[in-house]
Subunit: 203 residues, 2 copies
């Protein structure tokens, strides 16, 4: 088994944190996105979509998409459960993982990819107006999470889950957009402090 | 248990097809998106994000996000399995469901929401340039699925899954973008013909 990983990018980080929470160590190959190694012939054979992370199993099967990779590990090593245990918990984790993605991660990614000069060769065409349109969506996503965390220790309830991992990686990815979580979002800041202090979140 | 549903919109349709495949019937409440009923006070209490579908359980818990709702039903009624059975199958279904969403459903939705005059009050601001930027992404998504279906009966392998439901609802949602699956994508057209003929896909 082999994980194709990249530093700094938020999606590979989701899988790294997930694996640390599970206590799983596997061989990794670092793909340098800055040097466009994800577009070279060797990696394109592994993942024709030219994105990291990608998990290559011993039989040659390649699984891409961060959440699909995480789900594979949840199945082969169920503890600690990071996708929920009961039907309602599993649905709640799925719901909050998707909200963290769709309402926060995606707007942040679009602000960055369509607004940052350093991304001009990665995102073609860059649409500056679309970057700007995503700033209020990003703030609304933060507010949604802040409200939820006012009544809940973690995003999907009492237990840390993949939804927290997605939200953490999204928020830390706001840095290049030059935005911070507003001081008045005290619940989100409390939670961010807590999940950032877990050993899994450290570099 | 109660499902808040809407006609014509692709996400509620994903849940309807899923339930039919499972043989599950539950009471539904139709929310008229054209009349902006999803933004009225009553529905906003059910789902503050003002979107359908939403599933209200008997204890008052509300689950939103189509895939989260489907996952809940997969847990309480496992057969027929629509999220895969083994670890690898589950990872493959997750991967292809996400690819169908991210590479196809999302670009189609953006072409429609940002390009169609009828959506001007729903999508604020509409960014015409972003609609256009999504047309090639949409075509690339179709090509990705066509290639996969050249070697596989269904998207994630030999068994029909939620990935097929997502892709079917995405493709049928191309109609308002005035685009069709190109004739040369024979594998995708073969698959579309087959999944459209299942009783679950009928209105």
């Amino acid at each position: 088994m082999k994980l194709y990983d990249s530093v700094r990018a938020p999606n590979p980080r989701r899988v790294r944190i997930f694996l640390k929470e599970k206590g799983i160590e596997i061989p990794t190959v670092t793909v340098d996105l800055g040097a466009f190694e994800h577009r070279d012939a060797a990696f394109s054979k592994v993942n024709p979509l030219q994105r990291t992370p990608a998990l290559e199993l011993d039989d040659g099967t390649v699984i891409t998409e961060s959440v699909a990779i995480c789900r594979y590990f949840e199945e082969i090593r169920p503890e600690p459960a990071l996708f929920g245990r009961t039907a309602i918990e599993k649905a709640r984790v799925e719901m909050w993982n998707r909200r963290a993605e769709l309402e926060l991660f995606v707007p942040i990614a679009h602000v960055f990819r369509h607004g940052h000069p350093g991304m001009a060769k990665h995102e073609v065409p860059q649409v500056a107006e679309w970057a700007e349109a995503n700033r209020p969506k990003m703030m609304a996503g933060l507010a949604l999470l802040d409200e939820q965390l006012g009544g809940s220790q973690f995003l999907a309830g009492d237990a840390y889950s993949i939804a927290d991992i997605t939200a953490l990686c999204a928020i830390d990815f706001m840095k290049p957009t030059k935005t911070r979580v507003p001081d008045e979002m005290v619940h989100l800041l409390r939670w961010h402090h807590e999940v950032s202090a877990r050993p899994s979140a450290l570099p």
